[in-house]
Structures are given as C-alpha cells and as structure tokens.
Symmetry: C2
C-alpha cells in the first residue's frame, strides 16, 4: 500500500506555501502588494484616530538578485495610532493575529497583508524586519524580528526602548525584499494616484529607487467620521455565530439577548420577532437545543420586519467628495454621481457609490474606463472577474443610447464592514447577488442622467446647426433685400435670430 503521511502545518506555513493566493505571485506583484498592504495599514491606523494621514514610503535599491529582479529596501512610516509594545512582535510576526477581526469598515480585512509582506521579504532576502512604533506615550519601541514560519511565531532578534521626548506617534516598518520595480512601477504609481483620489485628506509621499519624489498633497483636512464597530445584523447570522454569542452572553432571556447582540434590534422589534417565531421572551438562550438554534437562525432570516442595517457604522465617500475626485482626476465634460441607500449581504451592511463621467480628457478607447474601489482601496488587478465589471458588461447600454466607443469612465466604490473579496490579495470582489443589484441600480441612475445630458446635447447640437444655417443666410438675405429696396442700413436680424432659438444655446 502507498504510504500516505499526515501532518499539520501552521497558518504561516500555509501562506508561505500558497503566496499566490495573497497576491505575492511574482517579483512584480510582490513589490506592488507589499507597498499597498503597508500603506493600507497606515491609512487605517491614522483614520482610527481621525487624524489626517501622513504617510511616507521609500523604496531603495540594494542590489541585483537575478536578471529579472532586484533587492529593495522598503520603508513605510505613518502618523497612525501606533501598536502597543507588547503586541508589536505578534502584530508583525504572526499570521492570523491582529486588530482587524472586527465588524468594522476598514481597509485590512484579513489581518494578513502586512505579515505576508514581511514574510515575503524574509524568504527572498533572509533579513529581519525593523518595526518602530509608539502610541504617543513616553516611550518609543524598536523591534528587529523574523518569522518562525513553521511554528507561526515571531522571533525577536533585538529590542530597544527610547524616550519619546517629542511625543511622536506612529509606526515605521522597514525590511528588504526581492522585487521588480521597473515592471511594477506603472501599477504602483496608479495605486498612489487612485488612493489620493479617494482619500483627499491624506498626504502621501513616495520616493522611488531612482530618488524620484511623488507627492500627493491633501486637498482638505476634514476627515470623515471614523467607521464604528458594529453588531451583526440578524439577516447575516449563521449557527456558529449564534453559538458564540450564546456562549459569551451575560443575558439570561431571549428578549435581552436579541436586543443587546444584534444590529438595529430594539425592544419592539425583538418582541415582534419572538412572537413571529414562537419563542418565549423569557427563554434562557443558554438552554436552546441544537435544533432550536438552527430554527432560530432560519427564523431570523425569514422575519421581514428587521430594520435595514444602519449606515452609521459605514463611512462612504459621499457624492460631493466622489464628484470632486472624479472632476479633479479625470477632467470630464460631464459627471453624474450617485450614492445608494445602505443595503446588506449576509448581514453585512454595505453602500455602493457610483459615478459616470463623459468626454473631456477621458480617452476614447473602444471600451469604458473602469475604476474600482473597496473601502477606499483602489483595485487594480483581475478586473475581468470583478462583480462591477460583470454588471457593466451585462447592462443594456443601448437602452440609454450609450455605446462602448464613447469616452466614458465608470467609478464603483463599495464600502462595507466586510467587502466580499474573492482573493486574500484583495484584487476583486465576489459576485454576491445583493452587491450586484446595488451596483446595477446605481449605474442605471447615473446612466439615465448621462442619457439626459447626451440627449440635451444632441438637441443643442441640432439647434446649433439650425441656427448656424439661419445666421449664415439671414445676413446675406438682409443685405440683398436692403440693396433691392434701395436702402442703406440692413434690418436688425439679431432679434429674428433670437426668436428662432429653442434652447439656451450659448455662444451663438
């Protein structure tokens, strides 16, 4: 018989073996992914304190690795909340350890990206990473560490403590990694540009290996409210979650249990639901049998009267900001923006914001220009698999008299306490029917506005042509008639021209 051996591997080892699924496929993708993951952690760290982010990224050349890749040193510094000293080693040297496992809108969702970057650096250069951090208290902590991949534990090589005389707060991460910056450059610059577009309150500085400085300066210091942590919505619970809540609840009756552990369930809704499902309000949740828990889950999904999730915990861009961003970056002739009402998939609230822009500096390229964002992260890879692209492809554009050869850009932003990414590398968003529907409805709304604009412009064009004919021939007719009548001053044809104008066509 063949020998089949069984073994257990650590989470760290799993991602080491399968770095493709975290976006670290090759030296080009790896350097892009490393920068992006660290920048996003930095943005989250600053926003959690409602501080305008100040992020400095420096990539410097260290040497040749092979014909196709080089060794770089990457440094990312932020003015975020900092990491408490006792958590620094695990937060940077242990996979599946972190602060991101909350129901809260944030860029990071897997608590994985930063560590993958450090892990990738380690397996390609075997250099330790240096982390410097302070929460703004009296000390600054510096750790040099590597990851014990087989045991998924940080190895601390050095630790220093400094006095924080100037009250600095933030985090610096520095490590070496193999990469191909030349190939990655276009995507990296596009990443910074699009990040600046949807985070107009952030200062981003990037110094590339040639010493070129890219600076994206904030346009405002007004910060959106930081997203709040939220309770699970009853439509999204599964048996596992119910069991966990029952385990930890301090409440010993169903009424209080429902009111205190679920999003937007108050006294009245809770009572109505309990009546609907035939559960006594005084029933102790800890006494529910397996079967009763399963039934409770199904009833929660069936009950029609739960309020939709509250957008209060989400922090969308807002129509104004989105419009400003699009006008600034794309300089179109026309733009329409629309923010959908909050919706929910699997109990996670989400908001879709869309924009459609036409003409101006938007190139005509035989297809729409598509910008995708998830929780203010630009998504730059695997466009073809994204739910937005599927919706765009499926839409009946002809109905709106829109064709792919028009100079059109489409922006879709999805913000949620949990964006349903299809890959750990956050390249694209899964095709959840609820998300699809919201995108489609949003797109229809802005496209109708575009259609009205185009129709109006067509009328105006026709009118302009019609008036053109009048204004071309009327003076000649007037001149001819004047001569014919033996007069010297031709009649005032301006009045006549004005009287045939049907629209407020300017410039004629």
């Amino acid at each position: 018989m063949a020998q089949v051996t069984f073994e257990e591997i650590s989470a760290s080892d799993f991602f080491y073996r399968n770095r493709d699924i975290a976006g670290f496929t090759n030296p080009t993708r790896a350097i892009f992914a490393a920068i992006r993951e660290l920048v996003e952690n930095s943005l989250d760290a600053a926003e959690s304190l409602k501080i305008p982010p100040e992020i400095y990224v420096r990539l410097s050349f260290e040497g040749e690795a092979s014909k196709e890749s080089q060794i770089y040193k990457l440094l990312v510094e932020d003015n975020g909340c900092g990491v408490p000293p006792r958590h620094i080693p695990s937060a940077f040297g242990q996979v599946l350890f972190g602060s991101k496992y909350k129901l809260k809108q944030q860029r990071g969702t897997f608590g994985l990206g930063g560590k993958m970057a450090i892990l990738y650096g380690q397996i390609t250069t075997h250099q330790p990473a240096t982390i410097i951090s302070s929460t703004g208290m009296s000390r600054i902590y510096m750790y040099k560490l590597m990851i014990d991949i087989q045991r998924n534990r940080p190895i601390i090589l050095d630790r220093k403590v400094f006095l924080n005389k100037e009250g600095w707060r933030g985090t610096v991460v520095e490590f070496s990694l193999e990469g191909d910056y030349l190939r990655a450059m276009p995507k990296i610059l596009e990443y910074f540009k699009q990040t600046a577009m949807v985070n107009p309150y952030a200062n981003l500085t990037f110094v590339d290996p040639k010493g070129r400085l890219y600076k994206f300066t904030r346009a405002t210091t007004i910060m959106p409210d930081p997203p709040k942590e939220t309770l699970p919505h009853p439509y999204g619970v599964d048996v596992e979650l119910l069991q966990r809540l029952i385990q930890v609840t301090p409440y010993n009756n169903m009424l209080e249990f429902l009111k205190n552990h679920f999003h937007r369930v108050g006294e009245i809704t809770a009572r109505k639901f309990l009546e609907f499902s035939g559960i006594s309000p005084s029933k102790n949740p800890k006494r529910l049998s397996h079967e009763e828990i399963v039934r409770l889950m199904h009833m929660l999904k069936k009950f029609k009267e739960f309020l939709p999730p509250d957008a209060g915990c989400l922090s969308p861009l807002g129509e104004e900001l989105l419009k400003t961003g699009v006008l600034k970056e794309l300089k179109p002739e026309f733009v329409a923006v629309h923010q959908r009402k909050p919706a929910t998939y699997a109990g996670h609230p989400f908001i879709v914001e869309v924009a459609i822009a036409y003409g101006g500096e938007i190139p005509q390229k035989g297809g729409f220009l598509i910008y995708r964002f998830g929780n203010r992260i630009p998504l730059l890879y695997d466009e073809a698999s994204d739910v937005s692209v599927k919706v765009i492809n499926d839409m009946n554009w002809r109905r709106y008299k829109v064709t792919p050869d028009m100079p059109i850009a489409i922006v879709v932003h999805i913000c949620s306490t949990k964006v349903p990414y299809k890959t750990v590398g956050k390249e694209f968003i899964a095709d959840r029917p609820e998300v699809r529907r919201e995108i489609a409805n949003g797109l229809r709304e802005v496209t109708r506005q575009l259609q009205r604009f185009l129709t109006r412009r067509e009328h105006v064009d026709r009118e302009r042509k019609r008036l053109g004919v009048f204004s071309k021939y009327l003076p000649r007719i007037a001149e001819f008639s004047t001569k014919l009548a033996g007069k010297e001053k031709p009649p005032d044809i301006e009045k006549l021209l004005r009287s045939v104008k049907r629209f407020g066509v300017e410039g004629i």
Copy 2:
C-alpha cells in the same frame, strides 16, 4: 485614544470568516464547491493506489431553508486508500491538517477543501458529519464529528468500529448543508462531464435530489502511473526552504547535501555548481551563515547547468488520451493536440497540454469555447482571470487566419506538483510568466496545424467548386457533341474529370 484590541484567531476561524476565498460564496457556489472538493479527494485517494476510481455521489433533499436555498444531504463514497483511524478526526475536522502537503501532482493542494465543505455544512445546518473509512484492513471505523471552529479542533460525537468481513476499502463522507441545487445544477453536471473527459478510467455516479441518475462509465481500466513525490528543484528554492533542509539534513557536507535534497542534482552537477559558486564540497551545510544561505539561494538560481525537472513525477494526460477525450465530448471536424516538454516555474515542474478543435458539433458563438484543466480538475469559474484566457486573448490569431467567429474549442491542461491557483477555491490559475510562455507556445503549435487544415480545406473547397463546374457542364457538352456528331454513345468523361483533379478530393 481609540481602543484597538488585538487577538489571535485559528486557521479554521480565518476560513470561516472568509469563506469567499475558498469558493463558498453563496448557496449555489457552496453546493458546487462541496461536491467538487469531495470528488477530488476521492479521485486522489483511488489514484494513489493506482486503482480505477469508483465514486458514488448522492445529493438528497432534506427541507427548505429559505426562499432561495434548501437543505441537502450530501454523500460521497469512494474506493480509495482510506484514512488511518487515528487520523480521521483531524483529516476531516481540522483545517491545515492533511496528507496533501507534499511535492506531488495531486488535485488537492491546500488540504482545505473537504474541511471547508464540512465546516460550511456545520454553520448552515449545525449537523455533525459522518465519516466511514477503512484502509482495507480488518476494521471499518465510523466517526460522527463537528469542528470546534474557534480552536480548530475536531469534536468527536460518536465513534464505532465494525469488523471488515468483506475487505472493503475506501471512505464515505456524509453531511448536511444549505445550498441551491437548481441554480448549481448546470455547473455540477458540467463538472462531472468534464471530469469524466479527463479521467477516462474513472466510474462516476451522481444521483441528484430528484433521483435522476447520471452515470459516467470508464472507457478504460488502464491507469496512468500514480504521480510520484519529488524533491525541490534548485531553481525554485527560497531561503526558508534551504533553512528547513539544513535543519533536517543528515549530511555534513555540501556535496551530499545537494545530491540528496534536490531534484536532478547528481554528483557531476553538484560538483560543477559548487565550483561555479565557490563553495567547498566539504563545507558543512549546518555551518552556513545567514548571508551564505542567501548567497547560496541566488547562486542556485543563477547556475545554468541544472537539468530541467524530470516529468517522471508528473502524470499528464498524453496526446492520445486528450485527443480521444476531445473527439468523444466535442465531436469536431478537426482536432490538433500538443504536449509541451516539461518546464518549471519557481522550481515546480509542470507540463502544459493543449488541444484545438474545429467545426463538427462545436457551436459558432462569436468567441472560442475554452476548456481549462489543472491536474485533471475542470476549472469552471472566473474564466476571464485565468492565464490561459489571457494568452488566448493576446494571441495574434489573424496571423493564423483564425477568427473568433469560427466554431473553435480550445483545451488547456496544466499539470504540476503545484498548480499556481490564484484562489483557494481553485477557480483559476495565476499569470506566471513561465506558464504563460508554455501555453502560448503550445497554442501556436496546434493553431499552425489548424491553419494548415483550414488552408487545405479552402483549396479543396475551391477545387470542389471548379470540379463542380466541369462535372455539371461536361456531360451536357458530351451529350450535345454526341448528338451533333450523330453518334449514340457519349465519350467517357470520367477520365477527363480525373485529369483536372488537383487534390485527392473525395466524393466527387
């Protein structure tokens, strides 16, 4: 200051929270993914013993879950190698535990799919899974278990041991899950069809919830050699791997270390490499410093004289089998197949096999029909992001006089000790340059053959037309001339017709 809390989550908890990345996005995808993951484990289990697989899958309706989904019971039985009793609980109830963490061509790569299916069943129905297995020895073991998701450990609810009087060997997995079979049906049936196409030695039986029986009977009992476990190729090592090898090696000199731990490195190659990199053959690998290990890795990648990986450890389909499969399933007018020589990416050997089929029953649909396989697994989702599709889209088809409106089907099969999937759900393959190149070269080869066929067919068509004219008018001319000459029997025009034939056109 905002409260940031840090926590550690288990691997099981990670995949529970992020089931999208494992393919369990919605009730439709979940039921497809569950069937597929278990069937693939079963195929691997039978092939590891070189036994023609005999797989029985039954999905039965249990009740309504909601408007859009139902509860089903899924049972998958195989005649594979079985699981040793002491490993059963962890093999089915603990994420990142398994027998798939080897350098070996197999369908499963993440050791995750079967457990994700059981985990998904548990969180949607809260029922335990039943596993029955025997390695063919004197006992059959039955376990009822659930997964403790927070601790990533199996919970054994029941355990029974039976005498194995009839020497049965194999595994039965049975559990309940929520799903939407009606929507998933087309993909599930397509999955079985395509699996049968590339596993012609397997018997597959599927009984669907309506009691419909789908039977895919084997066409041969000849089995390919089971893929062998292999050593890492020097081009694919990273520092982590070198360190692990150094940790476990019993050899105390570099020459033996290289010869015994790397794929296709013999005495001569090892000596040449050591000279090239200036390392003494007698150097003890355990004495290498960090810097020396990093240097060793770079030197291994730079050395040009390592032999390419040996295809012996891979088990491709072979051109004959691929051709048979395509002819049987697609019934085309023409087919060309090509197997590329083994290549390597990141040290993993891989073989690309491609086929192009034209005409016959292949529909004309304004685009090519694309079939993708990885280690004999049909890949049915997220086609647009797959490397094969990218290559197909980038190819200069006009050069081969091929246009997308022709009835053409393309098959790409990649087999490797590690297929670079982009998602844990194994939906599509990452865009590794080495893989891309092999697919492109393979496609060019078969497309050239198609071009020759098309050119020849065009000539034949033209000839057929030309001969058509002759054969239409010659008899009349002959008849007319006969009458005109006053004769009774017209001359033999067959000879004449044959003399103007330029090609072996049949049927004229």
